[in-house]
Amino acid sequence: MAQQRRAPAPPISGKYCEDHMPDYKDVEHLKKFLSAHGQILSRKRSGYCTQCQKALKLAIKRARHMALLPFVG
């Protein structure tokens, strides 16, 4: 059985987090971290550190509550 190839992990650094701090009002930025079904991408795919991934999760959930982002799809 052929082994599935994983997408290469993006570079993780503090600089990346500082420049891209998630905010629930910045919808276009948050959309980059959603899958086609509206699921939040994992830390491996998003490139955020642990703390910033939590901030991303919170920002997306706030945006979903305000109907800025969809829950599904």
């Binding site: 009002k25 979903r64 509550h65 305000m66 109907a67 800025l68 982002l69 969809p70 829950f71």
Partner: protein, 154 residues
Amino acid sequence: MKTKIYESMVLLDNALVREDWKKAKATVTDTLTKYGASIVTCRRYDEKKLAYQIKGKNRGTFVMCYFTLEKDTMAEIRREWELNEKVLRSLILRVEEVPATEHELAAAENNADFVVPAPPPDDMVEEEEPIIDPVPLDEIMVPDLNDVDLDSKA
């Protein structure tokens, strides 16, 4: 109790905004002042299509307010907005400071010549970005592989 700064985003029904913008804005500001909050800035944030239907509405107007509150009346403010049928959604967050740009944007809205654009109909279809036409096949230059001299490269 120490004074804290809060940010609130309120999603209003477009039907209320169509009637009168000042009246619509007052539904937000009156509630805040009623429960002892002093408003720093309050402005129309945006009017846009919602990601999902709320109470049968497809579009709504967002109002952004920054206010300070000394009393412990946050629960009452949340409850009042929750019970108001014209308020579709509300979000109140604690912030460290009011962004510098917020004062300018709020001041621009308070000018006499500022006119709030009327919200479009609820079932309006937004124009999608035009797709750039791909390069016609005739214009793509494909080299003839018979002419390529492979031996010279080796």
